[in-house]
Structures are given as C-alpha cells and as structure tokens.
Amino acid sequence: MTETAMRIQDLTRDFGTVQALDGLSLEVPSGIIFGFLGPNGAGKTTTINLLLGLLEPTAGWAEVLGFDTHTQADEVRTRTGALLEHSGIYEQLTAEDNLEFYGRVWRMAAIERQGRIKELLTHMGLWERRRERAGNWSKGMQQKLALARALLHRPELLLLDEPTAGLDVPSAAAVRDDLEALAAREGVTVFLTTHNMAEAERLCSQVAVIREGRLVAVGHPDELRARAGGPRVEIIGRGFNDDVLTLLRGRPEVVGAGLENEHLAIDLREGADTAPLVGLMVGAGVRVEEVRRGKASLEEVFLTLMEEGR
C-alpha cells in the first residue's frame, strides 16, 4: 500500500458553463478517515465521481492508490468500495441477492463470498432478514446493507457519500464505530463526505472544506478550530441585553460577543481571564447560571469559512 492514498492536483470539472470543481489540490494519507466537507452543491459528489473515474476531469489529475483515475480507472474501482449519494440497493432483490450480485461482480469465490455475506449481515444485525426484499426495508436498514456491500470485497479505500444520512442514532453510532475500527485495525482509508460536523470532528484525522468547488481549508479538526480563533466562553443565564453586549464588546480582552440560541457567546483573546467579565455582567444585572469555556466547534469553523466566501 502507498503512504498516500490519494493525490489530487488542480482537479477541475466543468458542466457546460457551471464549474463544479475548480483547481482542487489535496493529499490524503493512507489508513486514515478523511472528511470532505462542504455545503450542498460545493462539488463533493463531483469529486467522488472524478476519483472513481466515472467522470473525466476538464483539467488537472488525480491519483488514487497509485493509479491515475483517468487512464487507470478500472484499477481504482477494483480496489475501492463506494457508497454514493443514493444507497444503490436493488429493491426488487433480497438483501442476500444484493450482496451475492456484488460478490460475483468482485469475482469472489463462492465459499469466500457466502462467508463474507454472512459475516457482514450478522455484524449489521440483518442476517435473520436476509431473504426479505430490500425494498420492504427502512432507509436505515438499506443504508446498512449498502455499507455492507461497499465493504464486501475488503477494499483498500472506501469512498462514502454521507454514510450515516438517514440512520437512527444507534445505527449511526454503530456505523461510526465500524469506520473507526476499519481504519485503525485494517488500515483501510476512508474518504467520507458528511454534513454532520460532530461526526467529522469525532471520526476524521483530517478534514478538507470546499466551497463552490474550491478548497478553503484542510487539516486536523483541532488545527481548523485553532485557526478559526482563540478561546471562547459561553454563558447561560438571563438578562442579556444590548447594553451588556456593548459593555462586553468594549473590553480589550473580548474579540466579539453575541447571542446564540439564547446563550451569550464571547470570543476572547489568548490568555484572557473570564472572571472579570462574569463580574461585569453580574454588576450589569445579568443572572449567570452557567459558564463554559472552550474553543469554537468545527461547525462554527465551517460556518465561518462559508461566511467568508460571501
């Protein structure tokens, strides 16, 4: 296995006058979970289609597992498991036949195929219902089946387009555990897109954020959070008003202050002390119930990055 699972250089894709991807350059190390974040229409699905060699780039190139996605797309697809925007489950077939078909597609020997199908369906809690038509299943069960299909041939690389979308909380948690285990124990590289920032924060060793087809940030979630700003304090209580906000914004250690979901969020300079600010607020008539210190969440970083582009 190469140390770098993917190399993307100036990758561009136009659809007529629309530029879906604009000079994307990125490196994804092997054996990690890499989060690819962006709002709807940012170019995430186009990127996955380009990486699988399903689309030809307008300019630039990409190398996946050491193979050029344009000229050696067959090699890329042979070594990759994909869960795309839609689950791709054949609803008219049984769950077992869905996996049987893809097992044959990946040219797995009959015994290996049957063993692997049983292993995956048992692990996903679907074995007892394997002979039911997948079309009669809930979206969550279909998504689990689709994930089992992506893992069937033990690929070196998984490309997952929102793998936990539509799953209930326990199922989503189980999928996240599975992905962590795959990367940690089996060295599988996982390239996933998600709108769930908490998921990206928990799972991903590195994330990239794209907006309108362009890369706007890349790094470990902690790096991105640190880059977005210094410490922040969140105050829960009553009596926040414009006078209090003006008072806080006038303090030298305060970078910004504002109300978020009826909580007061204050961005501070590095090394700033919280106690004087709390005292100031109490003096101004605020009834403080709880004070939390921390850094900006990945979601806040993401929103800031999206806001910067406007």
Partner: protein, 246 residues
C-alpha cells in the same frame, strides 16, 4: 468479459419484471401477444402453420416483450438510482451493456418461442387432421430468425432511448411509438395499394415473381443491418462518463 457479462445476466434474470407495480403491467403487455398466439391458430387451423401468418407473432411478441424489459433494465436502473453504484464497480461498460441486452433478449425471445409452440399445440389440438401439423421449414426458420432479430433491434433501440429518458415509463413510450410507426406505415401503405384494382394486380404480379423464401431472406437481411447499426451505436454511447454526466 464473459464472466462479467454472465454476472450482469444473473442479476437481470433475478430482477426482470420484479419492480413493484410493474408485474401487472407486464401481464397486461403479455396479453396481446398471447391473444395472437391463441386466437389466430383457433381461427385459421392449418393455415397458421403453412402460411406466413405466424410471422405476425414473431414480429409483435418480441417487440412488446423486449420493449417492456429493456427500458426497465436501463432507464429503470437510472430512475431507481442504482446505476451510479453499478458504474462505480469494476464491471466493464460492455459487460453491463451486453449482460442486460442478452438477458432481456433471451427473456423476450424465449417467451415468443413459447407462444409459437403454444399456437402450434392449439392448431393440432383443435384442428386435428389425423397427423401432427408442423410449421413448414421456411416459416419455422423465418419465425426463429425474425423474432430473434426483432428482439435485438428492440433491445438496441431501447438502450439508446433509455439513455435519453428520465424514467423507464418515458423510455417505453418513446420506444414503442418509434418501433410501431414503421409497422403502421407498412400496414396503411399495403391497404392503400390494395384498395384499387390496379394496385392489387401490381401487388399480386410482384408477389408472383418472388418466393416466400426470398421475401423472408430480404426481411432478415434488413433486420440484420439495422441490428448491427443500432448495437454499434448503443455500444459507442454506453460509456460511464456519458452516463454519469447526463
């Protein structure tokens, strides 16, 4: 390539006509060829096996059956969002294309042969003449080859229409309209010619100069050329990049 094509055929065999709500449509579609296979043999008796009447079944049955199956297999896969995942697999484009075509043609042709056999059984049961009646060799060869070539023609045209259609239903309607128009023109043209005395005499004169075998051969040749052209066009157009970009 062969093993990949067989894999696609395996899936198609399992999925054919199994789409919810389409089974009733499939049975309804089967009704008209089945009616042809029962009504005409009952009415015509020995004429059914000795005249070119059964060629009507050889034309219509595969056209309707494959015309229903192919859009469901191609445009239906797009409509149900299963195509991108299939294209993201290691299967070559040609294996997907030909696996689907062969499965649909085999199903359509197989049912047509079953209907031809059924009509032969009806003739023998209802119009028993003391010996088993069989299709004449020319008619039998015509039925076999024409039904196969019409099935392939419908399949190839179906692929091309499916690639442009958003739904299986849209592809089915366009395909049927386009394939039935030449047949209707042929039918109305014949009726127009046969309306006048001079037309009838010219037609009978023309038919006297050619044998049934020559007519069948000409039809087979035309179908072969059309099949080759449409299959080549389908193979050229059925490419991942085009399918995903569309």
């Amino acid at each position: 390539m062969v093993s990949d094509t067989l894999t696609v055929m395996w899936k198609e065999r399992k999925a054919l006509f199994r789409v919810r709500g389409r089974r009733a449509q499939a049975l309804l579609t089967l009704f008209s060829p089945a009616l042809l296979a029962v009504y005409f043999p009952l009415q015509e008796g020995a004429e059914w096996v000795e005249s070119p009447l059964s060629l009507l079944l050889a034309f219509v049955a595969p056209l309707i059956l494959v015309g229903l199956a192919i859009p469901d297999s191609f445009a239906g896969e797009k409509e149900r969002h299963t195509l991108p995942t299939l294209l993201a697999s290691r299967l070559p484009d040609r294996a997907i294309l030909f696996g689907k075509i062969i499965a649909c043609v085999a199903a359509g042709w197989g049912v047509t042969l079953g209907l031809l056999t059924l009509s032969l059984a009806i003739v023998n049961l209802v119009h028993w003449e003391g010996h088993v009646l069989l299709y004449t060799p020319a008619i039998l060869l015509g039925d076999l080859s024409i039904s196969l070539l019409v099935a392939m023609l419908t399949a190839a045209a179906g692929v091309l229409f499916s690639m442009r259609a958003a739904t299986a239903h849209e592809a089915q309607q366009t395909l049927m309209a386009v394939l039935l128009i030449p047949l209707l023109i042929l039918q109305f043209g014949s009726l127009f010619i046969l309306r006048s005395e001079s037309g009838r005499s010219r037609m009978s004169e023309a038919l006297r100069t050619v044998s049934l075998e020559q007519v069948l051969l000409a039809i087979v040749a035309v179908l072969l050329v059309l099949d080759a052209v449409l299959l080549a066009a389908a193979a050229m157009r059925f490419r991942r990049a085009r399918l995903i970009a569309d």
